[in-house]
């Protein structure tokens, strides 16, 4: 009788110990999985911010280059960071009127250039000419009749440029790098 009672108590201790070790292995596995997830998110962030990221653009201001309903584009940040953006590039710019909005436009002039543009092409043919100050660029949509750009809010600082568009992924009939 006594032996059986002692045996029972020993079994309960063994049960508690194995449960503890099970929890420890579970906790260690969870920590490892979380570390892998954190590393993946960091790599994703660094790639999106410093190298290349896909983005969806929509709206009428860049017709006929981009569709009205939406295009998926690849945007790279290396050219912008090195300061090698040139007139004729299509870029993503943080809007100077609403910093939470990012717009896509084409660069028509760099600092020091003189830009001539039509103020209101729907109603008149009047042109105006502006010299772009230091550190700024002139952005304009390809569709000058339906685009809110530097003709409205003036030259924008270079620091607002987020990336340069170099490749179209969707729609598939426009797949490929963008031409001038």
């Amino acid at each position: 009788m006594k032996c059986r009672r002692f045996g029972g108590k020993g079994e309960e201790d063994m049960g508690a110990l194995s449960k503890l070790s099970q929890w420890r292995t579970l906790a260690r596995e969870a920590a490892e999985r979380t570390a892998i997830l954190a590393k993946f998110l960091c790599i994703l962030h660094v790639t999106n911010t410093y190298i290349c990221t896909p983005t969806l653009v929509y709206g009428p201001s860049m017709l006929p280059t981009f569709n009205l309903t939406g295009d998926v584009l690849l945007v790279e940040n290396l050219t912008v960071r090195m300061g090698k953006v040139r007139p004729g590039d299509v870029v993503l710019v943080r809007s100077p009127e609403n910093p939470r909005k990012t717009v896509s436009k084409r660069i028509l002039g760099m600092e020091g250039d003189r830009v001539t543009f039509m103020i209101d092409p729907k109603n008149s043919n009047r042109c105006q000419s502006v010299v772009i100050p230091k550190g700024h660029v002139w952005i304009q949509g390809d569709n000058i009749y339906a685009s809110h750009d530097s003709r409205n809010f003036g030259p924008v600082p270079y620091g607002l440029i987020q990336g340069k568009v170099f490749f179209r992924v969707w729609p598939l009939n426009g797949f490929g790098s963008l031409r001038q």
């Binding site: 960091c42 962030h45 939470r100 600082p157």
Partner: protein
């Protein structure tokens, strides 16, 4: 063989920590070195002495404000200079979109356009700020200075200060 493995592991660990540090400093908080006297006496009050450059202030910049671009009057922010995108400046926000601000010693009043802010250094005598380059787009901001973290005797919060005499809130 053992040295190659060791070097490879060490390189991998450095790379991982570098990536994690870069992500944290971009999204959450980072430390910035304040140079110059444009924010005297809030930052660098000792820079006039010979040893001053060794005790320049380092501040903690928090990036949570960049989610919604929600700033308050009197915040000290770091932003890319509108005239040179490679430079970053630290100044105080005096006016937000919709406010009217008067230029000092004049009767002109200027309305801050949407999406812009008016920044000024605390040391008006030697500060290149919105009084020379105009309102700054909020999209150029890259962090808000909340605490001074170096030198140790100046550790503390950065206070908000608003000059009420020159601004009328919109």
């Amino acid at each position: 063989m053992g040295t190659r493995n060791f070097l490879w592991d060490f390189g991998k660990k450095c790379f991982t920590f570098g990536l994690i540090g870069l992500t944290i400093s971009d999204r959450y908080a980072s430390i910035a070195h304040v140079q110059g006297l444009s924010m005297y006496p809030t930052f660098n009050p000792n820079a006039r002495t010979f040893m001053g450059s060794l005790t320049d202030d380092y501040v903690l910049l928090e990036k949570f404000c960049l989610e919604k671009y929600k700033f308050s009057h009197g915040d000290v922010i770091a932003f890319r200079s509108p005239n040179n995108h490679r430079e970053k400046q630290i100044k105080r926000i005096i006016a937000l979109p919709g406010d009217w601000i008067t230029a000092p010693h004049s009767y002109d009043a200027l309305r801050i356009p949407e999406g812009h802010c008016w920044v000024e250094g605390d040391n008006s005598a030697s500060s290149l700020d919105s009084r020379s380059f105009g309102p700054v787009p909020l999209g150029l901001a890259c962090g808000r200075a909340t605490h001074i973290v170096w030198p140790p005797q100046r550790i503390g919060e950065v206070e908000r200060r608003i000059p009420h005499d020159r601004i009328s809130f919109g």
